[in-house]
């Protein structure tokens, strides 16, 4: 077994352990993938929050906003397959035009925030935070917390 096959196999084993019987393995992965992206956003939002509160190094704002932008850019495609489940409400796909508009706007704002951080650092980022972090506006409509 070469190194890649071994890696893929171990990932598959983990996925199999995590899969509830009712959901097909592929669907389970599709849900896990978009949740990995959302969890990344969660850790990045928390890290940025710590920086703003002075609890983590200010200069790290550049990398964290870049990570936020990269994760945001991958988010819409992750929801494209119409696989209900996880914490997604059916409205994600029933109102796809609105959902994708919200996600695209978030992704564009995150990309702008990353540019702002690179050019002006933490002080330039602060006033743009509230307008960028539209997480709750989407979750209120499209996420059902379990």
């Amino acid at each position: 077994m070469n190194r890649l096959t071994r890696f893929v196999a171990s990932v598959a084993v983990v996925a199999a352990i995590a899969a509830p019987a009712a959901v097909r393995a592929d669907d389970q992965d599709t849900i896990a993938y978009r949740e990995d992206i959302m969890k990344t956003l969660g850790d990045q939002a928390a890290s940025i929050g710590m920086i703003i509160q002075g609890k983590a190094p200010a200069e790290n704002i550049v990398a964290h906003t870049q990570i936020l932008a990269l994760a945001a850019a991958s988010a819409l495609d992750a929801f494209e397959p119409k696989v209900a489940g996880g914490e997604s409400k059916p409205e994600v796909w029933a109102q796809w035009a609105d959902f994708s508009k919200k996600m695209n706007e978030f992704s564009m704002a995150a990309a702008d925030l990353a540019k702002t951080a690179k050019a002006g650092g933490l002080e330039a980022v602060k006033p743009k935070m509230q307008a960028t972090m539209t997480c709750k506006g989407c979750h209120d409509v499209y996420r059902q917390k379990k």
């Binding site: 890696f7 599709t30 609890k55 495609d77």
Partner: protein, 148 residues
């Protein structure tokens, strides 16, 4: 027991529960922050794994690898303060030279794979992917996952 005594009692209990992990508010911040970095690595390598297993298209593979390399770039400094706790073994600091070298290899390795993914595409990046994922090699020595 008066309400105040009850309140004081429950505060003391909470303080006792937290005491072994949290030496001070600042130390807790240091531990929280490095764990946010590590958890991002976990979720992004999970996302990569789903692409490598063929369920998810490879369109965003370079994005996931770049996130891993960005997190890696922040990691050496996040572990620099000698704050024991979380799942870190004391060896992180007592064997700092080796730990730092492993971190540095992670930083350069993941940056290289990011460059390959951006310049040559996901297929070529797969051939080098393990250079961006030296997770287990470090955890086996420096992380105790049984600790909370």
């Amino acid at each position: 027991m008066t309400r105040f005594a009850k309140l004081a009692g429950s505060v003391a209990i909470v303080a006792t529960m937290l005491a072994p992990v949290v030496a001070s508010a600042d130390d807790k911040d240091v531990i929280d922050y490095r764990q946010h970095l590590m958890n991002t690595l976990d979720h992004q390598s999970g996302a990569l794994g789903m692409i490598l297993s063929g369920v998810i298209p490879d369109k965003h593979m370079a994005d996931h690898i770049e996130i891993i390399s960005l997190v890696a770039s922040l990691s050496p400094k996040a572990f620099a303060p000698h704050v024991e706790g979380g799942q870190s073994k004391p060896e992180v600091w007592s064997k700092a030279a080796d730990f730092d070298k492993k971190m540095k290899d992670f930083v350069t390795g993941s940056a290289n794979v990011t460059k390959i993914a951006r310049d040559q595409g996901p297929t070529e990046a797969v051939n080098h992917i393990l250079d961006a994922l030296p997770c287990k090699g470090c955890h086996d020595l420096y992380r105790d996952p049984s600790k909370k």
